[in-house]
């Protein structure tokens, strides 16, 4: 019944390994930064929804951390892609 928790945990681990390998193997380039930030957003949202349990709570309580995550990731992306 609660197997979804194990799926969330495994997804988080896989996405973390993916991020680490990109960095470790020096594959990070300006194009992959966006992909890396997207995986970070997915991981954060999984924690908010399933670990913090905010998926089962009224939207107004879930909105703040989700919007925080989205805005933070978008602004970081902006900082990396904005021409200098």
């Amino acid at each position: 019944m609660k197997k979804y928790l194990e799926c969330v945990w495994i997804s988080l681990i896989i996405l973390t390994i993916f991020s680490y390998l990109l960095g470790y193997l020096n594959y990070i380039n300006i194009y992959l930064v966006a992909l890396l930030l997207l995986t970070t957003f997915i991981k954060g949202q999984l924690v908010i929804d399933y670990f913090m349990g905010l998926k089962e709570v009224r939207l107004k309580y879930r909105m703040f951390p989700s919007i925080w995550l989205l805005v933070t990731i978008l602004l970081i992306t902006f900082a990396y892609y904005l021409p200098i």
């Binding site: 973390t16 709570v57 951390p65």
Partner: protein, 199 residues
């Protein structure tokens, strides 16, 4: 649709006060992350060179540890949620086992972080070395303090579960500590790629 709305809880898990703290912490760390990302633009070469000093592997291992500890905490919370008056002792025992695992993860994270900090300080690096290390020490040091506090909270909850103090009507304190721990995990999930990986 209507059915889904009706099933939603009125309040987030735990005391509402902890959620105010969580929201404030998220904003504070968010500003630190953005400060880092935008400061990097002024000297990308320096930031990339400074990043080479950090161990991506220890950052990676710490990420795995925090994610796993959060998973253990959710399992402990689920033990509480399934608690009835009849099985309240067994539920406390079950939760205490999950909490102990989470606590071990928390302490391991702290040990790895102390080792990492000691290497950094051995090189003579400090807050005034350069902008990268100022942000690195501030954000990871500040986060370290949160993991330390979270571990103390988990330990107190653990002690209460050992004395079967939580009942089906009163385990809000348990959920409060768990929510704080997940916040610590969420912050690290953003911090890890930002400081250790992205170049």
């Amino acid at each position: 649709m209507l059915k889904n709305i009706a099933l939603k809880e009125d309040h987030p898990p735990g005391d509402f006060a902890v959620w105010i703290i969580i929201y404030v912490e998220l904003v504070t760390f968010g500003l630190l992350f953005l400060g880092y990302a935008f400061s990097r633009r002024s000297d990308i070469e320096l930031f990339n060179a400074s990043q080479e000093v950090l161990s991506q592997t220890s950052g990676f291992v710490n990420t795995i540890i925090l994610i796993t500890s959060s998973y253990f905490v959710v399992k402990a919370v689920n033990s509480m949620k399934n608690m009835t008056q009849k099985n309240h002792k067994e539920s406390n025992i079950k939760a205490s086992k999950w909490l102990l695992l989470a606590l071990v993860c928390g302490v391991t994270f702290l040990v790895i972080k102390i080792t990492e900090f000691s290497h950094i300080f051995e090189y003579g690096i400090n807050l005034s070395t350069n902008t990268f290390f100022m942000f690195y020490i501030l954000s990871t040091g500040f986060h370290f303090m949160h993991v330390l506090l979270g571990s103390v909270i988990l330990f107190n909850i653990y002690k209460k579960t050992k004395s079967y103090a939580y009942t089906p009507d009163d385990y809000s304190g348990f959920e409060t500590g768990a929510s704080y721990w997940h916040m610590v995990d969420l912050l690290w999930i953003v911090l890890f790629p930002l400081i250790y990986i992205i170049r």
